[in-house]
Symmetry: C2
Subunit: 349 residues, 2 copies
């Protein structure tokens, strides 16, 4: 059973997932799975029996669970960092806070096609993937043990993927991730002070200045953030204030799928298909809590959902881990300019 | 000229170091230097002219600056993330805070021997390296533009090193690194509330529980921290309360050198000489500031210096970057136990 632990000094939570590596030697084992496409891929149609039973799938022509014929399929992670069964058990021991590792850890298999590239998929397929994200978030919010549902994608081994078949992952958990929490706190402070959304203010200024704007669509802005930690780090924000990803309408989902395809395709072309990670930052699960102060009861202005994209171009030089302090060799204005030019030459070609 | 920028949402500072990569293609260039030992190593004796002029060196038998005959040598980084010249210029633009990238970025060449391993060096040499850290921190504190001096070491290319010759690095800068700042704030809060050091309380509890203690010497404790983010992450704390690394006495420096050698040797043997990073966490520069509240004027109980060691055994799976939330497959109790056993079998062999 894994365990969630809180750092007694700075309060950061960590999953200690012992089951993923019973012995020290197992640390390196995960890399072995990369040569999987020469063997049998558990995410390919026909091999559904090799994964844990599916929790969701899109099968337009019907068909049985755990059979082929799906367009998107969601299964529990075979090597979960968390366990779905059991009551949440929060404990303390002196200065230490911990709880048992209850949570969901799922894999969203994005396509039946083993060799597909997310940027190369039709918009309709990308939209299905995004709708699957929504579906799983909404479903898992029904489970009151979890405070947050985290959607992320690791692309290529360098970025942490162990299988090449296109997939995203999901973790539903009893804490709110550190950075999201700090964003929430900052946004709440800003709203309490100014009765405005912090992120809306930021977008306003960025759209006015323009030099970090990579792309603007009807509903979205793609920014190279002002204090980007990594070269070509990009954030996608809905232009209209919205705290929660799942509240998007059909048109917005469509537009987001197009935006994502455009950006991922541009990054693939300009930076030679680099490894990357993306993470969805949306509001925590709206759990009513009796002891929350009044203003906590609505989350509406506490947050502005967005999407963070980090290509893995540079080696992280290590002291970043120890200090939380980053050196980025590519100014975001330069990154935005390069990508804007690439996008405009695409349009005209 | 590089620039320091503050994230307008969560307040994290980043160095945007444009000079390190004028063009996007340069991002990958840094990796090329790894085959340096087949060419001419700028850190080797005889090649002193290929580095910027030294700022410090230990030459027991005397000798001219920038000539050979040194045991430890400190030079400015040839590709600095910061520039040493110029006044600090703090600016704002709407929601954005930034300043010019004034700071020191130095390389501490730890030995004349190209192929030496830090764990294999004599204790006397490791002590010289540590005394050089102290020397540079004390010297740079004379420069009132800087708030913090950060010492770190990247070992092997995976951990961000670009040259194999043993070296550490130093950055002196006008901000306090994020994680150190959060530690300081937590320690200050704890002291204000309990009139005790937060870290001393933690050490007390850890020594009592014992299961995360890897090694205890006369003056130091090596811990696998309770909420370790990475497999075999280790922290070294002085047992007696002390906020500042430079305040150690000779005996403590000696003991720290022995402790460091022991731990690095044990890690090398048990984990097959993995890449790693270490970072020194010491108190910020004691700059008197007129508008600080009374209790800020002494930093003495605000902090407890320590040393953080992170081997790079697993690929960081990416969503860590986007969320600040980590999965560690090796429980720190297991890591501590493995290392304790390895240390005791060393003692008896």
């Amino acid at each position: 059973m894994s365990e969630l632990r809180r750092d007694p000094i700075i309060g950061r939570w960590v999953i200690i997932a012992a089951r993923r590596a019973e012995r020290p030697v197992a640390v390196a084992d995960r890399e072995m799975e990369e040569d999987i496409d020469t063997k049998v891929c558990p995410f390919c149609p026909g091999n559904e029996h090799t994964t844990p039973p599916e929790v969701f799938a899109i099968r337009p022509s019907g068909g049985k669970q755990n059979s082929s014929g799906w367009l998107v399929r969601v299964v529990p992670n075979k090597y979960p960092a968390l366990t779905i069964e059991g009551e949440l058990n929060r404990q303390g021991l002196g200065m230490f806070d911990y709880m048992n590792g209850v949570g969901a850890h799922e894999v969203i298999i994005e396509t039946p096609e083993h060799k597909a590239h997310l940027a190369g998929m039709p918009v309709s397929q990308i939209k299905l993937i995004l709708l699957t994200y929504r579906e799983r978030i909404v479903d898992l919010r029904g489970d009151k043990r979890f405070l947050y549902t985290l959607i992320f994608r690791n692309y290529k081994a360098t970025a942490g993927a162990t299988l090449p078949h296109p997939h995203s992952q999901l973790i539903a958990i009893a804490i709110t991730p550190e950075i999201v929490k700090r964003e929430l706190e900052a946004a709440r402070r800003h709203f309490m002070e100014k009765q405005r959304c912090l992120f809306c203010d930021l977008l306003n200024q960025e759209l006015k200045l323009g030099d970090r704007v990579v792309l603007e669509t009807k509903h979205f802005v793609v920014l190279a953030p002002f204090a980007a930690r990594f070269p070509y780090e990009l954030h996608i924000y809905p232009k209209e204030h919205c705290h929660d990803f799942v509240l998007m309408n059909e048109e917005q989902f469509e537009d987001f799928a197009v935006t994502l395809k455009t950006i991922l395709g541009c990054i693939r072309d300009v930076l030679c298909d680099p490894p990357y990670n993306y993470v969805l930052h949306t509001s925590p699960n709206p759990v009513p809590r009796p002891r929350r102060p009044e203003y906590w009861q609505t989350l509406e202005y506490d947050y502005h959902w967005h999407f963070e994209f980090i290509p893995r171009l540079t080696k992280v030089a290590g002291f970043e881990w120890g200090t939380g302090f980053y050196i980025n060799p590519v100014p975001p204005e330069l990154a935005a300019n390069v990508l804007r030019q690439a996008l405009s030459s695409r349009d005209t070609s």
